[in-house]
Symmetry: C2
Subunit: 157 residues, 2 copies
């Protein structure tokens, strides 16, 4: 039962058979980034969804929750907890719109803008270190390839 190759344990068990699948590699890379990005945002009290929300609100002041949900590709109900949390922490303001009293106009507060700036800097620094092995061209190619895959899968040609 030492050097036998009867069944298995001679050769190490690896995921080599899954490596040819691009989807598998994409999942693994995403897992790494997800965990790492989470660790980066955690000290700031943010999650990926709350950070993303701050970014989109900062770029589109006055937007509604439905618009935010669409931009983030999440369902409306799942955004309620996010806006609640951001409001409770004083990072965004929700003002009623006179012309349409169903909707809220979301805007960053001063504290929200400050935190967003900090978080953006932290995320950029983190991405820079995570993509240290890649050249600028590599990153550009990667972005382009990911966008093409997303576009193909989404069906928008």
């Amino acid at each position: 039962m030492s050097g036998g190759e009867e069944t298995d344990t001679a050769k190490k068990v690896t995921d080599a058979a899954l490596r040819p699948f691009l989807g598998f590699n994409l999942r693994r890379a995403w897992n790494v980034i997800h965990a790492d990005l989470g660790a980066t945002l955690d000290p700031l009290g943010l999650r990926m969804i709350t950070f993303s929300a701050l970014v989109v609100i900062g770029d589109n002041p006055g937007l509604s929750q439905a618009q935010l949900a669409a931009a983030l590709s999440v369902e409306r109900p799942n955004l309620v907890a996010v806006t609640d949390e951001l409001t409770r922490r004083g990072l965004i303001s929700r003002e009623r719109v006179p012309s349409d009293r169903r909707t809220y106009a979301l805007r960053l507060t001063t504290a929200g803008a400050r935190l967003l700036a900090q978080a953006t800097e932290a995320v950029h620094a983190h991405e820079t270190s995570l993509y240290a092995g890649l050249t600028g061209d590599d990153r550009a190619h990667l972005l382009g390839a990911l966008a093409k895959i997303e576009a193909t899968g989404t069906g928008r040609s």
Copy 2:
């Protein structure tokens, strides 16, 4: 309420502000692939985790559940339902190992090997169509970049 630019609705609300982040693009691409791959495997009665398990078992006949869990990067408890399901469907066999009666030796059954072949073909066909916009070089670069990111994040140099 038509042409005013007081606050917002003049310019469309998009995720443009998130696009510079590679992590965001990676997540979106992964979401697309995940949904698409799920739809591809569903007719065969497989999920990504069961498909991945079949691939690794087929490549490492006789391995233990702990080895399989390590190769798939999932915790051991989460693999129990997977092996249970595959065993119940007669796709894999679990034989006790005389030299270590704690472990099971996992192997594909004939039916399992047949289904794996079908699924592999389906997944490959699907990946081919999904990556239609990419050249062979693009795919190779993408694979390399993803592997580098994973390696950097995992800490293994």
